[in-house]
């Protein structure tokens, strides 16, 4: 992980960390290999006929990289419509192959938790008891050994 001022800021004071008392949706991104996971809580409001993320929090069982990814992505997602948030998830997923594997796994876990929380909200429009959706990541957290095929 490259340590720059922005990263230090997110590590010193992660944005949006914790739970949300008045959340109306949540979703989970999970690494099945090591038990790490991210939960995202959303408070969604209707604005001009669109679902908008009014507030967002995340909690993680994971490393500092996961916390930084959660801090950055939730900060970006706050205030977005669902369409905007889906674009944010797509943009995050599209750059995963350009970052180190351990960073990719952490970012994917956060992006999938956000996708799960959005989809949980949509499901709850017709079934208010719908359980929180969980998605598993496909990137491996462990860096490849030298010479190992990527």
């Amino acid at each position: 992980m490259t340590v720059d001022a922005q990263l230090i800021e997110h590590m010193m004071e992660p944005k949006n960390y914790g739970t949300l008392e008045d959340a109306n949706s949540e979703g989970i991104g999970k690494n099945p290999e090591n038990g790490e996971k991210v939960a995202i809580y959303l408070k969604v409001l209707q604005e001009d006929g669109e679902d908008v993320i009014d507030d967002i929090r995340f909690q993680a069982i994971g490393c500092s990289t996961t916390i930084v990814a959660g801090s950055m992505i939730t900060e970006e997602a706050k205030g977005l419509s669902f369409t905007g948030a889906v674009n944010l998830i797509a943009a995050t997923m599209s750059i995963l192959d350009k970052v180190p594997p351990e960073d990719a796994a952490c970012s994917e876990m956060v992006a999938l938790a956000l996708r799960a929380s959005i989809e949980t909200y949509i499901k709850r429009k017709t079934d208010s008891d719908f359980p929180a959706i969980t998605y598993q990541i496909s990137n491996n957290c462990a860096p490849k050994e030298e010479g190992e095929e990527v």
């Binding site: 992980m1 490259t2 340590v3 001022a5 230090i8 800021e9 590590m11 010193m12 004071e13 992660p14 960390y17 914790g18 739970t19 909690q59 993680a60 069982i61 490393c63 500092s64 916390i67």
Partner: protein, 276 residues
């Protein structure tokens, strides 16, 4: 009582952070006060356990970025005054003890000399050491990761201890809590000196509200081994620039051996007692 415990948890952490920030004679006093507040927290927790009250270690985020020590001390005094108003929920004996402690602590804090705070300047310079950029980055990442880990361990061992009446295992949990406090204080001091101090994040309750104690000990031993490896790597990374700092991380690395021995001891005792 639950709300009181949360507020005491926040006051304890805030005071501990103020101790890290201080670079003068106030430091040890603030550490002593934070230790007292932690004990208050554990005593309130014990009363919740005895009363069968469900609780967890969730809390609010704690803002600590200040330029003067007096600002955070004023904030802590306000926190402690609020706690004083909520003490009716605990037993009279505990309430009496905490009230008197808080009265003294708030009075003493108000008299502490002010200090300029550099714990948030992100300069990433440790004492007068000339570390390479690579070593500085490695140290930065280590301190963030491991300071949280030590806080997490304190909370996990503390929770398990609060829910166990097994004196043999509780003795081991207490040693591990004490050891993690030493590590947390060492790392927190370094973070403050480097200008990158941050409050450890909230511990997810899945990590301490556990049923599989055997699995916890086995995973704990693996984590201690991983921590040893992190210390070894860091010692190597900073060794070229600072043999003294490398020695410190070798010292921490060696301490983990005893933690592993204690956890193996606790695991053997657990298996014998429960036939699991």
């Amino acid at each position: 009582m639950k709300r009181l415990a949360i507020k005491m948890h926040e006051a304890w952490l805030s005071t501990l952070m103020a101790g890290f920030m201080s670079s003068g004679v106030n430091k040890q006093r603030l550490f002593d006060f934070s230790d007292i507040l932690f004990r208050h927290f554990t005593w309130i927790e014990r009363e919740m356990v005895l009363a069968g009250e469900a609780y967890n270690y969730d809390r609010d985020t704690i803002p600590i970025k200040v330029v003067k020590l007096s600002v955070i001390l004023h904030n802590i005094i306000e926190r402690l005054n609020q706690i004083d108003l909520q003490l009716m929920s605990v037993s009279p004996d505990l309430s009496h003890r905490i009230t008197h402690d808080l009265k003294y602590i708030t009075g003493a804090m108000a008299l502490l000399d002010d200090e300029d705070i550099t714990a948030f300047n992100t300069q990433r310079k440790l004492d007068n050491l000339e570390l390479s950029d690579e070593a500085t980055d490695a140290l930065t990442l280590f301190l963030f990761e491991e300071s949280y880990k030590e806080y997490e361990l304190i909370m996990i061992y503390n929770y398990l201890k609060a829910h166990s009446d097994d004196a043999y295992i509780n003795r081991i949990f207490q040693i591990l809590v004490d050891e993690s406090f030493f590590h947390l204080k060492s790392f927190g001091d370094m973070m403050a000196k480097m200008g990158i101090l941050g409050v450890p994040r909230i511990v997810n309750k899945e990590l301490y509200q556990i049923d599989d104690i055997k699995g916890f000990f086995l995973a704990g031993i693996d984590e201690e081994l991983a921590a040893k490896e992190e210390c070894r790597k860091l010692s190597e990374a900073v060794g070229a620039n600072s043999p003294e700092l490398a020695k410190f991380f070798d010292f921490i690395n060696n301490q983990e051996n005893y933690h592993i021995a204690l956890m193996k001891d606790a695991l053997a005792h657990w298996e014998k007692e429960t036939n699991v």
